[in-house]
């Protein structure tokens, strides 16, 4: 009797521990698209996407594309963002379960490419004579001489600022050519008040990216390390500003679960280095009457000796499943989505396209609610990827996030943590 109970208990234990870990691993095979049409007939392309209700530009692009190409139908498969990468892997493993590959975490592109799941786009691009210079991060998706993916959407860091705080402190607005040192000094001048009335000159969000990205901005190093000593000056800057009270304290932000948007939208922060996606958030909030901050955008400050307009960001690409039966049609869609029309659709929904020319930035800047001078501020000379296209990026990123907090709460000296990061990075990358 007791033995039996023991067995039951043992089985119960197994369940709870492993079931969750495993279920995600054995997702079921996708249903094949109903339409397997012959040449000349109507073709249906399967296009997995995430959270389509929040990313309305996808629907806009598909509608435009289908109107122009009546013989091609795009079948969007909507997946929750958190499950997306898993689902995509499963679909690619299934062979021709999907035609267009939308890589959410772009740093996993090489994993797919290594398995031969992504079509080399070089010949398609050459055939159509596409000017690839206009695409942000185009070369980052060229792996071993194969163009495995094509840049679609892009986001990069800029400096947001609150004009009213600058006016009140009698400080000139940030220029588009500022170093991080100059930014730090500016923050000191902008900090004022005490307690509930305190205004902070700067704000560094709790993501390690909001310190480490400035260290990789010169393009000489990446977060893969394994020597992380190049990050030291930026950690010193962050701690110095934290001690001086010119930025909010990391522990307060972390334990209070404070999101970067609210302090800025409440007017308690003068400058905020943040991604271009934040513009959309500002416009939406302002339209809803939830913020009346008089904001502006400047180019992200840069390290000493680096050209103005260098920034850090990430790019989400589109690719073709190498096993697709309709590669030509899939390419037609990618060409459309990443081209002028597709990019305009992204801009219309407040997203930054990877395709950029003079008109693109002007169009974004002309959007209602965008501050004056945005077009100039959004110009970039170089965008470094915050997470390099590498299969170990995600794991390294997690490790850096753990170690980052130890520096910011001052549990350990910077040097010790940087060494520890290096050791763990070597271990992860098997070096």
């Amino acid at each position: 009797m007791k033995n039996k109970f023991l067995k039951t208990v043992a089985f119960g234990l197994v369940t709870t521990m492993t079931a969750t870990t495993l279920l995600a691993g054995c997702g079921s095979k996708e249903e094949k698209p109903a339409d397997e049409g012959k040449e000349g007939e109507k073709v249906t392309l399967t296009f997995p996407v995430w959270d389509s209700a929040q990313n309305l530009y996808l629907q806009d692009i598909i509608e435009g594309f289908e109107a122009e190409n009546p013989n091609i139908k795009i079948n969007m498969v909507d997946v929750a963002a958190a499950d997306y990468m898993n689902k995509l892997s499963t679909m690619l493993n299934g062979g021709n379960d999907c035609d267009i590959v939308y890589v959410k975490d772009s740093d996993s592109t090489p994993s797919f490419a290594k398995k031969g799941q992504l079509e080399d786009l070089t010949s398609y691009i050459e055939k159509d004579g596409i000017n690839t210079d206009k695409y942000i991060s185009y070369d980052d998706f060229n792996l071993d001489g194969k163009q495995v993916a094509f840049p679609f959407k892009s986001d990069y860091y800029v400096l947001y600022y609150n004009k009213d705080i600058f006016d009140a402190a009698n400080v000139e607005y940030p220029t588009n050519d500022m170093t991080w040192t100059e930014w730090g000094e500016m923050c000191t001048k902008l900090t004022s008040g005490e307690g509930n009335n305190k205004v902070y000159g700067g704000y560094l969000h709790t993501w390690q990216a909001c310190v480490e990205n400035w260290a990789v901005q010169d393009g000489k190093n990446t977060i893969l390390g394994p020597d992380y000593s190049f990050m030291k000056p930026y950690y010193e800057m962050a701690l110095r500003m934290q001690d001086a009270g010119t930025i909010m304290d990391y522990s307060t932000l972390k334990t209070g679960n404070i999101a970067y948007a609210s302090p800025f939208q409440q007017g308690t922060v003068a400058t905020l280095p943040m991604g271009t996606w934040f513009s959309t958030m500002m416009i939406t909030k302002a339209e809803a009457g939830e913020t009346d901050v008089n904001w502006g955008i400047a180019t992200l400050p840069h390290p000493d000796g680096v050209e103005a307009g260098s920034t850090v960001g990430s790019t989400t690409p589109l690719a073709i499943n190498a096993n697709s039966k309709h590669k030509e049609e899939a390419w037609e869609f990618i060409k459309y989505a990443t081209g002028e029309v597709g990019s305009a659709a992204l801009v219309e929904r407040g997203q930054m396209p990877a395709y950029q020319d003079e008109t693109t930035l002007d169009a974004i800047a002309a959007k209602e609610g965008m501050p004056e001078g945005s077009a100039e501020a959004l110009k970039t000379t170089n965008i470094v990827l915050d997470r390099p296209i590498d299969s170990k990026s995600a794991e390294i990123n997690q490790m850096l996030s753990e170690e980052h907090s130890l520096i910011m709460i001052k549990e350990k000296p910077i040097d010790d943590v940087l060494t520890e990061m290096g050791d763990r990075a070597k271990e992860i990358q098997g070096k």
Binding site: L22, T255, A394
Partner: protein, 301 residues
Amino acid sequence: MEKKAKKQKGVSLTLRQNLVGYSFILPNFIGFFVFIFIPVMFSLALSFSHWDGFTEIEFAGIQNFVDIFKDSVFRDSIWQTAYFTIFTVLFSVIASLGLALLLNQKIKARGFFRSALFFPYVASVVAVSVVFNAMLQPEYGPLNEFLKFIGISNPPGWLASTTWVIPGLIIVNVWRNMGYFMIIYLAGLQGIDQSLYEAAELDGANGWTRFWKITWPLLSPSTFFVVMMLVINSFKVFDLVWLMTNGGPGTSSTMISQYIYNQAFISWDYGKSSAAAMILFLIVALLTAFQFKAEKKIVNY
């Protein structure tokens, strides 16, 4: 002929009865088989393989186990989980038994207090995390305000400190658990025959002696259940830690379950993740088996 038919009918009747019996347990059994047994066996197989979720599965021998034991984060996670478990169990037993003894008295609004104390157990862990994150805030959190008020000038940093993060989590976990286990102790208390106390009183035993000689021994089956449930639950703790600290600062509150999660869903290393899951299973199974062995000595009736 006649006889044979009768016999056949008899056999098929037993069989039919059996089939009816099996059909009753079938839904449960299918569920168990598909959602528990197969995944567990798959996980066991994976713990001896390399797999990132989409390339081919390769046999790895014991490589994953070697790797995770070399990983200081995993070794730390074992100690951290053990530390968390020991004190959660200890304080939960003290708190829930104390509350049960108190609410077993004939006091005013007893029903209200019982429900109020049970409430944390049914509250959403997300809400609990949000509230306690604020309560334990180092600068302006109510707990540290109180500590400062009673004269502690340098109160702990709680979730923003590698030293205090686990004690902080223990406080929250004990608070969440105590209501449920209080109910179990209350049931145990009500099962104790009042005449024993009357007899003891006649013999001149004071309150303390009555507790140690009657209440505590007779509650041992409840204590056994409470401790076992707490050990199992604490070893598996995930949601609370994930929501409150996400294993930080650094990896100072990373528990085994979160290590499993991180390996599977951040590093996409299902092999290492499954190996860690097997070790967690082994630890919990051994502890549970040990408790059952010890039951005879601990439980008094």
